[in-house]
């Protein structure tokens, strides 16, 4: 658990359902624990996976999330956003390397460290984009369960730094979810397997390695589990290693082959996306087959499609260096935990990429035992998150997840050095305190800079928060401030400063150095609300306009018909004037003037309508078409636009 910064957490509500969410780089899932205590993934019409893809229109307004968005990835790559998780809580410098690989535009906002993704006319932060995915999961859960879902446990890679966890929490808030806890994905996997409840061999609990090779991240965690207690001994990994890298390597190989054939796919965004889809199809097929073939449309480079046939040996030769990159983090994590591979009791596989036979083989070699594969590696994390949500809300499980700080927490001292106050892998909740004084006479405040990281110098660590504790002016060295840092069970940092001379206590509001401030999140929530209001208004204007046009057309028909010929010229002039004001109201684009003008038109056409009806009856008496005329009236009414629920 990282240090998140914020105020006191609200006590969770009693009645509402809580779900577990695996917010993945490529796919996301939502799960819950059913009435019988069984964790279940909530599936939609297209299966359990919700692609973490968000599609927008040319203006940057949301079109679709999940499966329908994923289908647009190769149709409209500039407006279809995926792999947002790679950008969560990271600044422009940190993401520079991958921007070349993403077809959408990412900007650094002046004065803000967070990046923005440009889609059409709009700019979204990564948490806002992830919130669309979370909203989709929330909707799916509510649809499946028939009840509102307002609380969730969301998982993140164990290797995620603080800013990335904070961004994930912000995304939850933006999606209207109370985030009960951010849980490490591998820890969730162990919970799903119920490894914490297994009888242990040595009376010390079992030691479990969780090997998680997902779409965009690789994590290795060494856990110690016993008697309903889960402790993270060590975590490691690579936030830039996963199935996406395999896809890229495959696309790279195909692109190289195309170039050899004199075809240049660079700049062909849609073609590159088709190649990516083809690579994924090949990759999946080669997990169960020795040979696989796919066909790719090569337009506009050439009419003839490309037939790609790969053997598993080709595939494994290509991806071996990528798989090999998992080895060093595993060894480092074992060393951090003070263990040999032979000390491990269990090895668990997580993430779609662990279906690849080469990965399974390498893991078995590395840890000297066959890994667990009983639970679908795509679902296991979401199922574990659901278990944690159940633990935290129902009280029916005698289980407890003990979490640790993944990176040391320190404060800046003189000369830019770091004094560690809580070392990494400390169990939380945890506290630490330090005494501060002033170095200049009449200083009115003491600046405290909290950083996260293992290095000795502030510049090598990540800035977490910087805040000022105001003090009474007095000679240097005289003030004595006792500053208490509390990291609560949610990993949220609270700071209390006590003036040792007066005994006065002061709770300091800590502002995060990265990511979104509380105010920014509030503003986003508010703007989403404003937009929702605006959206409803726009929608009803469109509906009114459609209705107005139908009414005007019908009026025009009647004016030109037999009833119109008999109408008083003054009355006809009134109707023409009313039609003109309806046209003017349409031009304003506002729903209220249009509604008024339309009402006005309806009242002046009342007489005309009556005459028209009488004329129709008369005509029917002659031609026996009364029933038809009535039916026709009925049809017009039925054509009125239905109001869409927004």
């Amino acid at each position: 658990m990282a240090i998140l910064i914020g105020g006191p957490a609200a006590a969770p509500a009693q009645s509402e359902l809580a779900v577990g969410i695996d917010l993945g780089t490529t796919n996301s899932l939502v799960a819950w624990v059913d009435e019988n205590g069984q964790p279940q993934v909530l599936s939609g019409p297209n299966g359990p996976l919700v692609p973490s893809v968000i599609a927008f229109d040319q203006q940057g307004e949301l079109l679709a999330t999940g499966v329908p968005a994923d289908q647009r990835v190769h149709l409209d790559p500039r407006h279809t956003i995926y792999s947002v998780k790679r950008l969560m809580g990271r600044d422009a410098a940190e993401v520079a390397d991958e921007l070349v690989l993403l077809p959408y535009q990412v900007h650094a906002e002046p004065g803000s460290k967070a990046v923005r993704i440009q889609v059409g006319d709009r700019r979204y932060t990564p948490p806002e984009l992830s919130a669309f995915v979370l909203k989709e999961l929330k909707r799916r859960a509510e649809l499946a369960l028939g009840k509102p879902v307002a609380r969730a446990v969301i998982t993140v890679p164990a290797y995620f730094g603080d800013a990335q966890r904070q961004a994930t929490k912000d995304a939850g808030r933006l999606a209207g979810l109370e985030v009960l806890r951010i849980v490490n994905e591998p820890t969730a996997a162990a919970l799903a397997y119920g490894l914490d409840k297994r009888p242990d061999s040595k009376g010390q609990g079992s030691k479990v390695a969780v090997f998680d090779l997902g779409g965009g991240t690789f994590d290795i965690s060494i856990l110690q589990l016993h008697e309903g207690l889960t402790e993270v001994l060590a975590t490691g990994g690579d936030t830039h290693l996963g199935g996406d890298d395999i896809d890229l390597a495959m696309v790279g190989a195909v692109v190289a082959a195309l170039r050899q054939a004199g075809l240049e796919p660079a700049g062909q965004a849609e073609l590159l996306q088709r190649l990516r889809k083809a690579a994924i199809a090949l990759k999946i097929a080669l997990s169960s087959q020795e040979t696989a073939t796919v066909s790719v449309d090569l337009q506009p480079l050439r009419a003839q499609p490309l037939e790609l046939t790969w053997t598993r040996a080709d595939f494994e030769a290509l991806i071996a260096p990528i798989v090999e990159r998992t080895v060093a983090p595993c060894q480092r994590a074992l060393a951090d935990a003070g263990l040999q591979a032979s000390d491990l009791d269990e090895v668990v596989l997580v993430g779609g990429s662990t279906r690849i036979p080469l990965v399974r083989q390498r893991v078995a070699e590395l840890f000297g035992r066959p890994p667990h594969t009983e639970i679908d590696p795509d679902q296991v994390v979401a199922l574990g998150a659901a278990v944690q949500a159940d633990i935290m809300t129902t009280g029916r499980r005698d289980q407890l997840l003990l979490d640790v700080i993944p990176l040391s927490l320190g404060i800046e001292t003189m000369g830019g050095a770091v004094a560690k106050i809580i070392v990494r892998n400390s169990s939380i909740p945890a506290t630490a305190s330090d005494e501060f004084t002033t170095s200049t006479d009449n200083q009115t405040g003491v600046v405290i800079h909290v950083v996260q990281g293992e290095r000795e110098l502030v510049r090598d660590c990540r800035s977490l928060a910087r805040f000022v504790i105001p003090i009474e002016p007095m000679p240097a060295g005289l003030p004595r401030l006792d500053v208490q840092f509390l990291v609560d069970a949610n990993g949220i940092l609270h700071v209390t400063a006590r003036d040792m001379r007066t005994g006065r206590e002061k709770t300091v509001e800590v502002k995060p150095s990265y990511g979104l401030t509380d105010a920014e999140v509030e503003a986003m929530l508010e703007s989403a609300f404003d937009n929702a209001e605006k959206d409803i208004e726009e929608r009803s204007f469109v509906d009114q306009k459609v209705e107005a046009e139908q009414v005007m057309a019908a009026t025009r028909r009647q004016l030109q018909g037999p009833a119109g010929q008999r109408l008083d010229p003054d009355e006809a002039a009134d109707i023409e004037a009313a039609i003109a004001s309806v046209r003017a109201a349409i031009a304003t684009g506002q729903v209220d003037p249009l509604r008024n003008a339309l009402n006005e038109l309806s009242s002046c056409t009342l007489h005309l309508a009556e005459m028209g009806f009488a004329t129709a009856i008369e005509a029917a008496a002659k031609s026996d078409r009364a029933q038809h005329a009535l039916n026709h009236e009925h049809d017009v009414a039925a054509e009125k636009p239905k109001h869409h629920r927004v």
Partner: protein, 226 residues
Amino acid sequence: MNEMFLSTAPAGPLTAALRPYVIGDHGGAVLNRWPAPGEAMPNHFEVLGLKPQICLDEAATDAKVKALIRQLHPDRYLRDGAAMVEKAQKHTALLNDAWRVLRDFEKRCHYVVELAGERPDEVYKPSAAELALSFERNETLDELAEAPQQNRRALQSLLGELEGDRVDIREILREDAELWDAAGGDPAGEATARRRLRTSLGRLTYLDKLRARCKELLEKTVPERA
């Protein structure tokens, strides 16, 4: 010893710590009384109901601390309201903090010394021979640092030497710790043991700085091809 945490000084570790954490009516454990503002917080040994001794059964104590944390963890009190959660949080943090400091042998040595505060008569003064050796090793490291890859073997052998020294000093520290435990609260005996602890810990600090530098240089190198 702080009374509110240890009403009677027990022989066994942790049994006393269970005392203040009484079982509440909701089925969980709560601390019966938190120190009032201005009242001293119990030290880490007291929190865990341990005698201030350096040598202890780490595995057994770990299991007992965890059993207690399982009772007190805030996640168990989520349905009991914010006040209970906060209370549970404070207690769990207290236990976590105490065990973080005491779970490791060397950390316990440091903590025993730290509890006594600064004592001018106990300050570690390295001997002339120690200073000379430390100076010489630093000079060697400066030279090796100019070309770490070429000097990889020399760095590895220096690191081996330092690790060997560390094992030796750890052995002495073990004896110092036993001496402290044997003093059993006798002020003169404790002062003697503490002086020795400070010396051994001081020597380790010097050594660890050199080791850290050596390791850092080695990390910049890659193994030679066989």
